[in-house]
Symmetry: C2
Subunit: 194 residues, 2 copies
């Protein structure tokens, strides 16, 4: 656990200042999980008891369309928190699934453990305040891009800002995330590589 928690402690240190005797406690509220590629961390329709900090690896957040196809809504990489946050905060069934798309290490915290953590280390609220403000700010920008960009512009924007990441994920998932068919993504790649 000592090694696994270090990326989270580093992330926290960048955002807010917490005394060492308190940061030493943080690990006791978290569970370290190692997931293999394709393991599910959360299943749509099930209760969502936890949120996840990605220590290493990458996960996709998706839901099942009426026709059974998976629609990828988001990815989460190292140093990101992810969950179905509506389900997490309201203790209701999840409307998304989360699956590891690489071998992935996460730190999980349950809603109960988080309540206790925030009681004992209220400074962690400053950390989560900024984490969620950033996440919400990013979602405002993403919404603008969804309204503003053509499919081609969306692809080029993603390539420009997350170029290295596009190498890590299966191309059918990138296509799903961008709202394309795999065939259309393949056409675009050919067009911009030629």
């Amino acid at each position: 656990m000592i090694n696994a928690i270090q990326p989270l402690l580093t992330h926290i240190e960048k955002i807010c200042s917490i005394d060492t005797d308190k940061t030493n406690l943080i690990g006791s509220f978290l569970e370290h999980k190692i997931c293999h590629k394709k393991d599910l961390l959360l299943t749509e329709g099930h209760r969502c008891f936890e949120k996840f900090f990605i220590v290493k690896g990458c996960v996709q957040l998706f839901y099942l369309r009426a026709n059974g196809a998976e629609q990828t809504l988001d990815f989460a990489l190292e140093n990101w928190w992810t969950s179905d946050f509506t389900a997490f905060q309201d203790s209701i069934p999840a409307q998304f699934s989360i699956r590891a798309i690489e071998d992935t290490e996460v730190l999980c915290i349950s809603a109960d453990a988080q309540r206790e953590l925030l009681k004992q280390i209220p400074e962690m609220n400053a950390y989560f305040h900024l984490v969620f403000q950033r996440a919400y700010a990013a979602s405002q920008m993403r919404l603008r891009y969804l309204y503003e960009f053509s499919k081609e512009e969306l692809y080029l924007h993603f390539l420009k800002h997350f170029g290295a990441f596009t190498q890590r994920i299966p191309q059918y998932l990138l296509a799903s995330f961008l709202g394309f068919t795999p065939e259309y993504l393949s056409e675009l790649k050919k067009k911009f590589l030629s």
Copy 2:
């Protein structure tokens, strides 16, 4: 200011517990602004120094398309916080404008004042943690609806969940928010009212 700040204090009380001597200080970090219908609270391209708590009224968040048309991305009502949060947190030019669509009262807090507020009343981090977690949770759901729903389903969903609100806003803004032409919205309304 005493009356204007009460809705915010009530909102805070619902989320976290702060001693009265501290809550009495909160007003000193905020500015009370009264905006007339159509006044701009934030203009795209300008620096965004503040975030806004809506005491009374309603605002739209929008950007200008390349053709000069306004694209409405979001609304904010009583008890909601709004801003261009990327611009607010990074002190960069705003990529959205915010305009009152009714006579509107807001409480504004600047990034500097917020830093001071959080220093003096760190418990406010617990409040903002939950405010932003909820906002981000809602944006996850909205993203799902944008991918999942047909235009007709999007309209019916909005009507079901925000029925009273649809009566408050000009229909061309509702159409813009839903990504419709005003004519298409008008057709849908006729279809479901008949």
